[in-house]
């Protein structure tokens, strides 16, 4: 008898479903095919014919994959989105920023890479810790059944959050400076933003991403949600 589960997994591989849904859908479709095949065998069909007739019931693997993805994506429940992205993402953001504040409180000094009017500085210990926080975000996201893309997004969640804060700060700061009558050179502000962007967003983002990728390599292929899905 063919390995229906393996066959379904192989034919329906590709993006579209998160890990929990994928396992559940594969198990269900494999069970259907298995019963169908056994039904044909009981009718007296030779094995080859039974397999052929069972395959006919699929109606096209690509069509099946596409339609299931569309049906499942149509309404991603809010609860699921919260569990797969927002909670792990915020956890990554809060813990990484708390750790940075703690380092500053303990008197750790940043390493200045570029000296001048607006230096670029890095908290090396903090940067070294970020892959861990990124991995943690990706791990919790994957555990909640998120797709690889969602898990990686959860791992680098502090970057878009801080970018949004940066982008908000820029016009607000300009308005305040104008109201208070201070003249601020735009090119100076842009330089500061660029350098802060590198030290606070780009490099930390890369460190978080490395952690997310490592978590995906180490844990991403395990069926985290197997119990929840089939239980």
């Amino acid at each position: 008898m063919p390995d229906w589960r393996g066959l379904v997994r192989q034919r329906l591989s590709g993006p579209g479903l998160d890990a929990a849904e994928r396992d559940e859908v594969h198990a269900e479709l494999a069970a259907h095919l298995e019963e169908s095949y056994e039904g044909f065998c009981k009718e007296g069909l030779p094995e080859r014919e039974a397999v052929h007739r069972t395959f006919e019931q699929v109606g096209g693997w690509e069509d099946l994959r596409r339609k299931i993805s569309a049906a499942k994506r149509r309404e991603l429940p809010v609860k699921k989105r919260v569990q797969q992205l927002w909670i792990p993402g915020f956890l990554t953001l809060v813990l990484s920023m708390t750790f940075l504040a703690m380092l500053q409180e303990l008197g750790f000094r940043p390493r200045i890479v570029w000296s001048g009017t607006s230096p670029i500085f890095f908290y090396v210990l903090w940067l070294a810790s970020l892959p861990f926080f990124g991995a943690m975000g990706a791990y919790f996201s994957a555990r909640a059944g998120a797709s690889r893309a969602s898990a990686l997004l959860a791992s680098i969640f502090p970057v878009p959050a801080l970018t949004a804060a940066f982008l908000l700060m820029f016009p607000i700061g300009m308005i305040i400076e104008r109201v208070t009558g201070n003249h601020v050179d735009f090119s100076f502000v842009a330089t500061v933003l660029l350098k802060d962007g590198i030290s606070c967003l780009l490099v930390p983002g890369a460190a978080l991403f490395v952690g997310g990728v490592l978590a995906d390599i180490l844990f991403g292929r395990r069926p985290w949600s197997q119990d929840a899905a089939i239980g």
Binding site: E24, V25, A27, E28, L29, A31, H32, L33, E35, S36, G39, Q57, V58, G59, G60, D63, L64, K67, I68, A70, A71, K72, R74, E75, I230, G231
Partner: protein, 110 residues
């Protein structure tokens, strides 16, 4: 054989009607519909499961994993109260449509 457009419209009604008699897993559901319609409604997996998942999202049906007597795990679908509520007007609408079509064909043949 009924055309695909009509089939799409009747598919939900067929699933809800069959589940009215009790919970069924996907294979059994498809088989029951095929038997009860003398083969006029036949579902491929690509037609059946996306529809079941959509109906589940709409909370008309609910799927749960169950273990059968032979130890096999199957996802069984049952009608929810919302599904029962949906079924009654659907049945009425389709009955009206078929009556109207019958009238029309009678007139056409007269």
């Amino acid at each position: 054989m009924i055309g695909s457009g009509i089939k799409r419209g009747t598919a939900e009604l067929a699933v809800l009607s069959v589940l009215q008699d009790g919970p069924l897993h996907g294979y059994e559901l498809a088989r029951r519909i095929e038997q009860q319609t003398n083969g006029a409604l036949r579902f491929t997996l690509a037609a059946l499961y996306p529809m079941l998942y959509r109906m589940e999202q709409q909370r008309w049906i609910r799927g749960t994993w169950e273990t059968s007597a032979n130890g096999r795990r199957r996802r069984c679908y049952r009608l929810t109260p919302a599904g029962k509520k949906k079924l009654a007007p659907l049945q009425r609408e389709w009955a009206e449509l078929f009556r109207a079509l019958q009238q029309l064909t009678k007139v056409a043949h007269a």
